[in-house]
């Protein structure tokens, strides 16, 4: 076990090394401020992490976490109900299919109209984009459950409650984690779009601001922090999968 964790940590380091080397070579070839040397970026990061970036990080983390949690809390039950009850499916699937491709980015004026320019709007946009990803993944995972698994419960007249907790939830958990990995990456990208108004905090703001100030060192430092944030969340999901899906 311990050994395994070590190997995956090592291979992560190796991956990081490969990326850094490629980046350095690329920086040497291009030789432009737009592609700064990784060493300089890390120096910069080290200098400004405690003083500024950490505050931005906390704001972004907060928004992502709230958005993700709400999407899970609403999306999972909804996806399970859509997948399990054909009647709900007939009602909701068309709604999901019609609403999912609506570009949420273009609905910014409406969101601002309803919720102002504060954190509510930011979280809501993250939520609105991610919930569909979760609902669709969960719905499809429920469709994939083999009929036979329901037999022992249904023959006992189990309530929906029982079926939910004993079958639907554990069966869709692995795919929920896949969906969450994708959603996390999506919500990181969405930050660039939500943190450009009405706030001075957040990594999205920080990076855009650095870009506008043509401060590429800071911009890349922000990108690195954002990537590490994503990596951390990914590793947490991996750990959750190992813990709660150990039956596989």
């Amino acid at each position: 076990m311990n050994n395994k964790v070590n190997t995956s940590f090592l291979s992560c380091l190796a991956g990081a090394a490969i990326i850094l080397i490629c980046w350095e070579i690329f920086a040497l070839i291009v030789n432009l401020p737009i592609i700064p040397h990784p060493v300089k970026v890390f120096q910069k990061l080290y200098m400004i992490f405690g003083t500024t970036i950490s505050a931005h990080l906390l704001h972004s983390l907060y928004r992502i976490l709230i958005g993700l949690s709400c999407a899970v809390l609403i999306g999972v039950p909804l996806g399970i109900c859509i997948g399990y009850f054909p009647k709900i499916e007939r009602l909701f699937s068309p709604l999901v299919y019609l609403l999912y491709p609506v570009p949420k980015v273009a609905l910014l004026p409406i969101v601002m109209l309803l919720f102002g320019t504060g954190d509510t709007s930011k979280v809501l946009i993250i939520f609105a984009i991610i919930i569909f990803q979760i609902v669709l993944s969960i719905r499809d995972s429920i469709h994939d459950i083999s009929e036979e698994l329901y037999y022992p419960l249904k023959s006992l007249g189990a309530s929906f409650n029982d079926i939910f907790f004993d079958i639907l939830w554990p069966a869709s958990l692995p795919r929920l984690l896949t969906a969450l990995r994708i959603s996390t990456a999506t919500s990181i990208s969405v930050l660039f779009f939500t943190e450009t108004f009405g706030t001075k905090y957040g990594l999205g703001y920080f990076i855009m601001d650095a870009w506008l100030r043509v401060n590429y060192l800071e911009m890349y430092a922000g990108i690195i922090v954002l990537s590490l944030l994503g990596l951390t969340v990914f590793c947490i999901f991996d750990l959750l999968e190992k813990t709660f899906c150990s039956w596989k």
Binding site: E147, E148, L149, Y150, Y151, P152, L153, K154, S155, L156, G157, A158, S159, D162, D166, I167, P170, A171, C245, S246, W247, K248
Partner: protein
């Protein structure tokens, strides 16, 4: 009493409707056992699923328990499917206790029974495993432990001992027997072994080949009578059942 009248069920296969069982009528008295034998693919599993209220495409005909329509939340139906129906994300222990949990049977009152049962089925050192970590026979025993622990009103078992070696099979047959005697559980089970049907079924239903009809319903005089297995009448009884199946399949 379970009464089944004019039961038919079929499956959608591409465009056509394939009948699985046609016009089955029979009845099983409360507290008695009934063995179902018949050729592979004749609809025995479908028949059991219909009784348990699990047939997805629905069925035509009428199934009643003591005159009333089936309502699985009111009576206790213990159903063990052909593939055991274990939940892969639950440990053996959780799987065994699942039936009681659903039926809100206080597990504390069953602790003793559970322990004995687990020992009798030889699962004592596998309780924390997941189904994927078990051999085929072990999985089957977990499925059996679940329905046995529940002590249901009606017990439906689809080829319950098929993955067990002779000795284990016989010892578990005994476990079933004592459960049945204790709690007089109305039982319907499918088996491929005529001897097993004769040992455990007070009534024996013989299915025709696909699509399943009832070939014959037989009251079994040798139920529970291990002592008679050498007798001529027993051998003749078994031989006649065999002949019935053979004729049906070689038609």
């Amino acid at each position: 009493m379970i009464t089944i009248s004019n039961l038919s069920a079929s499956y959608h296969s591409d465009t056509e409707l394939v009948p699985a069982i046609t016009d089955i009528s029979c009845s099983i008295d409360t507290g008695t056992t009934c063995a179902v034998i018949g050729p592979s693919g004749s609809g025995k599993s479908t028949f059991l699923r219909c009784i348990a209220g699990l047939q997805k495409n629905g069925y035509s005909g009428k199934i009643t328990f003591n005159g009333e329509a089936v309502n699985p939340s009111e009576i206790n139906i213990g159903f063990m499917p052909q593939r055991f129906g274990l939940l892969p994300w639950k440990t053996v222990k959780e799987n065994i206790e699942l039936g009681c949990k659903i039926k809100n049977v206080p597990l504390a009152s069953r602790r003793k029974t559970e322990e004995i049962l687990v020992n009798e089925l030889g699962l004592q050192d596998k309780l924390e495993r997941y189904p994927i970590q078990l051999s085929g026979g072990e999985q089957q025993r977990v499925g059996l432990a679940r329905v046995f622990l529940l002590r249901p009103d009606v017990l439906l078992m689809d080829e319950p001992f098929s993955a067990l070696d002779v000795i284990t099979r016989e010892s578990i047959q005994k476990v079933f027997f004592s459960l049945w005697k204790d709690a007089s559980v109305t039982t319907v089970f499918v088996t491929h072994f005529i001897e097993e049907a004769v040992f455990l079924g007070q009534q024996i239903i013989v299915f025709s080949k696909h699509p399943g009809k009832i070939l014959s319903t037989i009251q079994n005089p040798f139920f529970g009578r291990k002592d008679k297995v050498q007798s001529e009448e027993y051998l003749k009884f078994v031989y006649n059942l065999r002949l019935l199946l053979e004729k049906e399949l070689n038609e």
